[in-house]
Each structure stands twice: as structure tokens, then as C-alpha cells.
């Protein structure tokens, strides 16, 4: 009996995961046809989802509290942008360069960051992003400084699909990259490497005692997340053909964190829901009241944190329990 219950529960979880995957892919395809005039905005949403997926790997799975994730995104963006300006406009090569740059910065900054905890870690993560932002600002001849990196001219994707003014190619390109990253991360988090990250979050001393080199595992996870955030940054540079200092800014790190908290940590899917809701509310509220839109976001975060601390992904379970008690 026990066996059948637990097997059916896992079966249900797998079926629900598959249903969600199908739903997300369908929604991604449908959005292209339903909102043809908003492809630029939708592409930005897809790119931010990749960024938030990366943050989920770091914070949701490994418990690494960071407020400097933009350092990795911005590094990927500038690396891919500079690569396009000075070497090659091939989008896939640029994506690889962005991933490598994000990974390298994450690795070297991770060597320091992963030795810190709590408030110290938060402060150091902000410091890394600020230092990088200032370096980019100072290197104006190469990076464009506060004017941003311009002159990015992308070649067609696979030599066939040229980036167009309406953002059609950019949208499909970002959508495909998003789902490749998403399914890759699903494999990673289910692997012993990903499970070790969750184990470290729950009990680092215990993981050490069963033979896991906790520090190096954290550096590894942070590096992988850096590569993913680098991909998001590279996509942003390629699709908008511009990289500004904001790509390394504190606001981006903080917004990504809010998106993740809204959606729910440690489940990957939270990145989708949190980002879509945050950016839609932002987009709508800012167009209605450009000065006070943050009030709406603040209220939304307060409501979610207070009533559904697990994030919006925890809402169905919360409602189910509520209805059961009510019944």
C-alpha cells in the first residue's frame, strides 16, 4: 500500500512536471502569435527568465545568498557584445563567449565569495558587481562607458535567420535558448551534483562528513550559474544590440531576486512564473503611472511573502489545504 502511494505520488509529480513543461512551451509559442506587437518585451521576459533560473540554481538550490548576480549577467553581456563588435557577429559563438565569460568571472569571484556567509556574502557579492561596473565605466574607449557598448551588429542565426526590426528572430532565438538552458538545468538539479547543492543548503557539515568537498562544490555551482547568467547577458546584448552599465547594476540583481521570491525558490519553474508576473506588472503599472509603479510591485511582494512564503508555485498547494480544511 505504502509502495503504491509513494509510486503514484512520484508518478503524479512527473506527470505534473511534464504537463507544466508542455504548458510553458505552448505558452511560449502562443505568445508569439497572441502578442505580435510586444515581441521586444516578451524577449526581455525570456532573457530575464534565464537570469532568474541561474539565480535559482545559486540561491534556491545551494542556498548562496547573493545580491550581485548582475555581475555575471553583465559580464556575459559585455563579453558577447565586445566579441560581436571586434571579432565575430555569429550569435551562437557569441553565446558561448558570454557563457564562458560569465563562468570565468563566477569561478574567480566564487573563490572568495564561497568562503563567506550571510551578510558578509551579500556585501561581497554586491561589491564584485560594483567593481566590475566601475571597471567597465572607466574603460570607456573599449566598453563605451556610461554611453553603453554600441556598434553591435549580429549575423543571422545559423547563417539563415537574420535579426529583424520586429524582433521575430530574436524572440524565437531567445525562446529556444531558454528551453535548452531550462532542460539542461532540470538534468543538473536531479543529478548527484545538484542534489549535493540541496544537501549543502540543508546541512553543509553533514555533506562534508559524507565526503563532499563543500567549498569546491559551491564554487562549481556558482560557476555553472555564472555561465547560465552569462548566456542571458549575451542574449540581451545580441537581441538589443546594446549593452549598458545597467547590465551590471544593483537594480538588476535586486529585481531578479524579487522575481525568484515571487515565483518560488528551488523549483526552476518559479523563475518562469515570478519573472512573467513581475515584468508584466512592471510593464503595465509603469505605463499607467511611471512614477509610482514600484508601489504595486512592493505590495505584490509583501502579499506573496506574507501569505505564500513558498512563492506563487506554492499557491495551488496552499489553496488545496485551505479547501480541505474548509470542507
Amino acid at each position: 500500500m505504502t509502495k503504491s502511494i509513494s509510486t503514484s505520488r512520484v508518478g503524479n509529480n512527473a506527470a505534473m512536471g511534464l504537463a507544466l513543461d508542455v504548458l510553458l512551451i505552448s505558452a511560449g509559442i502562443a505568445a508569439y502569435f497572441l502578442f505580435p506587437d510586444n515581441l521586444g518585451f516578451l524577449t526581455r521576459v525570456l532573457i530575464m527568465i534565464i537570469m532568474v533560473l541561474s539565480l535559482d540554481l545559486v540561491l534556491g538550490y545551494a542556498g548562496i545568498a547573493t545580491l550581485g548576480h548582475a555581475a555575471l549577467f553583465g559580464t556575459g553581456a559585455y563579453a558577447a557584445g565586445l566579441f560581436a563588435v571586434y571579432i565575430s557577429g555569429d550569435p551562437l559563438l557569441g553565446l558561448g563567449v558570454g557563457a564562458a565569460a560569465g563562468g570565468v568571472i563566477a569561478f574567480f569571484s566564487g573563490l572568495i565569495l564561497m568562503r563567506a556567509h550571510g551578510l558578509t556574502l551579500l556585501m561581497l557579492s554586491i561589491a564584485v558587481a560594483q567593481v566590475l561596473q566601475e571597471i567597465v565605466n572607466k574603460e570607456r574607449p573599449v566598453t563605451g562607458g556610461s554611453d553603453g557598448l554600441q556598434g553591435i551588429d549580429m549575423d543571422p542565426v545559423l547563417g539563415i535567420f537574420a535579426f529583424d526590426f520586429f524582433g521575430r528572430t530574436g524572440y524565437w532565438y531567445a525562446l529556444i535558448v531558454l528551453f535548452v538552458v531550462f532542460f539542461f538545468l532540470k538534468i543538473v538539479v536531479a543529478s548527484p551534483f545538484g542534489l549535493a547543492a540541496r544537501g549543502i543548503q540543508e546541512s553543509a557539515p553533514r555533506m562534508r562528513a559524507i565526503g563532499t568537498p563543500v567549498y569546491w562544490r559551491l564554487v562549481g555551482i556558482y560557476t555553472l550559474a555564472g555561465a547560465v547568467a552569462g548566456i542571458a547577458g549575451a542574449l540581451s546584448a545580441q537581441v538589443t544590440e546594446l549593452v549598458s552599465l545597467d547590465a551590471l547594476g544593483f537594480t538588476l540583481s535586486a529585481e531578479a531576486l524579487i522575481m525568484l521570491i515571487l515565483g518560488g525558490l528551488g523549483r526552476l519553474y518559479g523563475a518562469f512564473f515570478g519573472t512573467i508576473i513581475f515584468m508584466t506588472v512592471h510593464h503595465t503599472a509603469a505605463s499607467i503611472d511611471p512614477f509610482n509603479w514600484l508601489f504595486v510591485i512592493g505590495a505584490l511582494v509583501l502579499l506573496v511573502v506574507y501569505f505564500v512564503p513558498e512563492g506563487l508555485l506554492g499557491l495551488p498547494e496552499k489553496l488545496r489545504k485551505h479547501l480541505r480544511w474548509g470542507g
Binding site: S6, L195, A196, G199, E202, R206, A209, I210, G211, T212
Partner: protein, 241 residues
Amino acid sequence: MDANVVAPVLELNHVIAGYGDTQVLNDVSFGLARGERLAVIGRNGVGKTTLLSTLMGLTDLHSGEIALDGKHIQDLPSHERALRGLGLVPQTRDIFPSLTVTENLVSGTKEVASIESAFELFPRLKERRNNSGVHLSGGEQQMLSIARTLMGKPDILMLDEPFEGLAPVICDMLMEVFEKLAADGNHAIILVEQHAELALEFSDRMLILDNGEIVFHGTTAKVRSNPEILERHVGLGHSDA
């Protein structure tokens, strides 16, 4: 088994250790041979758990040496000690509550294939393999904690009060598993136990700690034939335990 004849796989020499400046263990020395079953007993707070933690590198070693297979390990971090053959099942079990049984087992190892051996040893865990750690009973959590440690294929299995708070039927089942592990000759087992009866039943050598020092180290047979040893050092006859 006589530790003087068989080369020890684990050796402690004049170990002084504790937490920060606080000294808990004082000049602890003993050896353990492969296949041997050592019980460590003593009153509360005498340093039994600290002894295991020190072996695992979780305390501050003030002086002394710890050797595993003849190589000093006292300067190695915990995970290196685990990879070299030390396996600790902590008193607190420390399973990962949000992970399923299977995920708990594979989280710390690359040898995912060993999971079948773990399930063979604990068929109950196989039945519960998809349950989260938080949804397991105390006995099942203890089985999971032991199985997860065994996934690392330790040469020396260190059990910190594994029977605490468990139903007698689960204790019997765990004792059978420990007997099986000890009988295969591949593991040396250190059992830290409050209940002298269980320690006597399981071990072939006993070590009694008091105030961080070894006050008795000898065969279990000697303790059985001289119950006053327990009375003197632990404060009870083994029939009272």
C-alpha cells in the same frame, strides 16, 4: 580479535581535542583493526560524541595524531577523511528532509550503483524510496542515515547512539544489520552507546570514557566477567542498563 596481533586500520595517539579552547578529550590513545567491533561507553558528557567528531575532523584537535591505514589524517578536512574510509552516522541522523530517500542516498556519492546494496540491506528504504526524508519515521530516518554513510563505502563505520529513541523491534533489526556488516570483515565498527547491555551484546572490545579520558580499555569478555568494571566507571551493573 586481538588488536595487538592484527595491524590497526585506525590509530589514535595521545589525542587532545575539544571545541575552541575548551578541552574535552584528554590524551586518548587506542587502535582499531579491520573487522573489529569497539563499543565506547560512558556517562553523559564524557566525550563520546566528541571522540567520533574528532575522528571526523569536526572538532579542534589540540595535539596528538590520528592515522588511518598508517597515514596521518589529523590535518585533513572532513570530506577527505570520509573519502579515505571514515563514515559517521551522527546521533542527530542529519538526513536531508526535503530530499527523497533515493536523493538522500545519491547526494554525496558518484557511485549511484551502490544504491541497490543499500536497499538490499534496508528493504524498508526501497519501499519508501520516493518519500521525502521528512515523511519517514524515526527508525526509517536512522536506516537512511546509516545507508547514506554506507554509500561512501567506509572502512570504519562510526555509530553515535544509533538506537536512541527507537522501538525495540527497530533496534533488533539495526543490530542485525550491524552484525552483518561486522561479519563481512570489511568494516571496523565503533559504536557509541549509552545502553551498556547493547554495547556488551555487540562489541568484542570496550572503551570506557570518563571526563574525556580512557578509564578502561579491554575485551568485552573481561567486562562481562567483571561487572564491577561497569559499576565503577559508568555507575551501573550491566543488568541495570
